[in-house]
Amino acid sequence: MPQERIGVYVCHCGSNIAGTVDVEELTAWAGEALRHRGVVVARDYKFMCSSLGQDLIAKDIKEDALTRVVVAACSPHLHEATFRKACADAGMNPYLCELVSIREQVSWVHTDKAAATAKAKAVISGGVERVIHHAPLEPMSVPINPATLVVGGGIAGIQAAMEIADSGFHVYLVEREPSIGGHMAQFDKTFPTLDCAACILTPKMVSIGSHPHITLLTYSEVEQVDGYVGNFNVTVRKKASYVNSDLCTGCSVCEEKCPKSVIDPVFEAGLGYRKAIYRSFPQAVPKFPVIDADNCIYFDTGKCKACEIHCEAGAIDFEQEDQILELNVGNIILATGYDLFDARRETQYGYGRLANVFTSLEFERLTNAAGPTNGNIVLRDGETTPKSVGIIHCVGSRDRKFNNYCSVICCMQSLKFAHLVKERTGAEVFNFYIDMRTAYKEYDEFYQRVLSEGVHFIRGRVAEVTDVSNTPEEEDKLVIQIEDTRIGRQRRIPVDMVILSAALEPRHDSDEVAHQFGISCSVNGWFIEKHPKLDPVATMTEGIYIAGCAQGPKDIPSTVTQGAAAAARVLGRIQQKEMALEPIRAEVTEALCSGCRICNNLCPYTAIVFDEAKEVSVINAALCQGCGTCVAACPSNAISGTQFSNEQVMAQLHGLLMLNIMEPVVS
């Protein structure tokens, strides 16, 4: 094999690398010590990723007839694409370029300059050995199906769906509940401007329902996702609603006539009732009700049918069954939202035991004019207006026992509650907070406003809410016991009502959903974005985007922003019409395959099939995801993995260790 002509390029990354690694020495060493391995050029430059740095490489490729390029800079996850493109532009196959990390894995994690430089040498040596065994590859090109799936019909999903559909591309919007609207539809007022949530949300919901480019699939759940970017196959289960939507007029007579009333744990947050046939709320989109078979008298006893009897349109269909729909889409946006922390788990706050302890979501319903009390702020008896109200921040947030993150919205939400209580009842209001976090446009101004309204702010985390009374004035009250950290004293503050600003948590099934769509969850359970700062709506999986609280707690403006951002990313993909896929695949060399079938059940994508006629195993390149498990398992070396071949890894290993003999690790 004729020796390759290799160029080695060492990036200073300003002082990010050069501060810890002796880049000049490194470069000189690469040029000298690795010359016998084919290194003909070794250069260092302040910022290799800059256009000047890239030009340097391009020039050498052309003038020095380089056949391989090794760039020692940051993580391949950051700039592999940049340098591959630079090489491609200079006429070299991009896969003959190898980016090795001496920033994330050397300069940023080590302090000793000599040791870091020695390690950087090993890393470059590994890269040089590896790149010798690289082969030119051509990316696979896949067409992008212009249709998009949006999962979740809250404000994030609504925004994303609207943006895409308005651009003329089709959207399937899948929602688990009978109506879209999400948590926002449950709120009364939104901070800091106090606009009415329904007034700004309902028009959007209506346009979703009537949009020619949107197929709205409510009361539906995604069951299975196959395929890859550009060509996903999604199986959706549309649950039986027992109401024929072609006939139903949405008159709601069935709801009035239904004799079975049950607590509504979802939309009314358990604070109100709905019927066994119901719409989540009067402005629901779509307008058709669903029958909750678990609570329906007819499904239980075989008698009743009140809804059917009173339905003039004849839309009730007790025989309806779940429908399985197959959708083909090119991209997917996950906007599955959040669950509210179960405040019963913080036993010391008494939720679930003490009647007049409410969660934030319950309180939203309490203040909502369309809620169970028509917007009257009253105690659990439904009648008494509280004279004093305590609002507790950080319930289930910033607490290692539950969620160690800040839920972002609770401070502002609690301020909103304080304002509403004050405005509507005139009660004494106490806010108990660890830190007041009002960082966003107009937020601190709102805090100032609430301060001016005479609300008490006590800095401290509430120790307990108790009905154990010590004094006559505590009798029949809820006593909030706290260290008022401003004075370093314990205080016991009797109130009539307590509101718990409960944490935002990942959906209880976020792990399963992530797994289903092939993305990852953080330790806390939020979907992980591709880059926390620079790519907050994409994921590690091509074609899957995330928006809203599914990615982390956030307020409405940020949620809408993300919905729109995800839509923009998808629209960009659709406009490309096709996209290139990394050619990282496994292949069987049939002449070497003995048909032992060790590999056959190792592939989770069933890309490996056995050709009975030839008695060899065959890999379907379209299904293969390139993990390399079969390559490692093939006992006869009949499976090779492009870009991660045995030769490449063994050579890199050799390169990494070669230096050992030359220079020991410096402590």
Binding site: Q348, I434, G460, A463, Q481, T485, Q490
Partner: protein, 204 residues
């Protein structure tokens, strides 16, 4: 201490040696004291918090500020009733009760334990362990009598005639302590333990 200084002299260095010492002398590798966010859950939860001169939260801030003398002469650790409310509620999982034990041991060792208004508490503990070390079992009557005779002679009389007498009458008090059989083994273990611990505590 210079009592004329009315304000707490702000820590002039960022030295956290006291904090590190407290952490090192508390069992389990990290009692998480450095993670305190001053939320006050501990102070609010404390059943005897109203009578403490500093709340546990304040004490932790003082430890961080290297206010060794003030911390060790505080009554706060001695008023800890070991109810563990603070520990189960602490959002940062600080091992508060264990830290209180550590502060008590440091106070005893460094001679601060009689500075606070809980000055009898260490003696009660010491009387208690005297019996344990010599008999292997604790001994209520002896403990009560000895402790009260030493510190509250009047109480001793009240004990003997009042509730103590009632308990005795009901057969709920022994006249003599029980001694375990292998007291020598226990003594050997405790002697070795003390030797390992050095001057009271070993760094953990």
């Amino acid at each position: 201490m210079d009592t004329s200084v009315k304000y707490v002299r702000g820590p002039t260095t960022h030295d956290r040696t006291f904090l590190e010492e407290v952490i090192a002398q508390t069992p389990v590798d990290d009692p998480r004291l450095a993670y305190c966010v001053q939320c006050g859950t501990c102070g609010g939860s404390c059943p005897s918090g109203a009578d403490m001169d500093y709340s546990p939260r304040e004490l932790f801030a003082m430890i961080d500020a290297n206010m060794r003398e003030e911390v060790l002469s505080s009554n706060t650790p001695w008023y800890c009733v070991s109810c563990y409310y603070c520990m189960v509620r602490c959002p940062q999982d600080v091992h508060i009760t264990d830290v209180m034990y550590t502060l008590k041991r440091m106070a005893v060792r460094e001679g601060f334990s009689h500075e606070s208004n809980a000055k009898d508490a260490p003696d009660f503990s010491e009387t208690f362990i005297d019996f344990v070390e010599n008999y292997g079992r604790s001994f209520e009557l002896g403990l009560a009598t000895l402790y009260h005779l030493r510190h509250h002679p009047l109480n001793a009389v009240r004990m003997a005639t009042g509730m103590g007498f009632d308990l005795f009458r009901k057969g709920r008090m022994n006249l003599l302590p029980t001694r375990i059989e292998n007291i020598d083994q226990l003594k050997a273990i405790l002697a070795e333990a003390k030797a390992i611990g050095g001057n009271g505590d070993a760094n953990l």
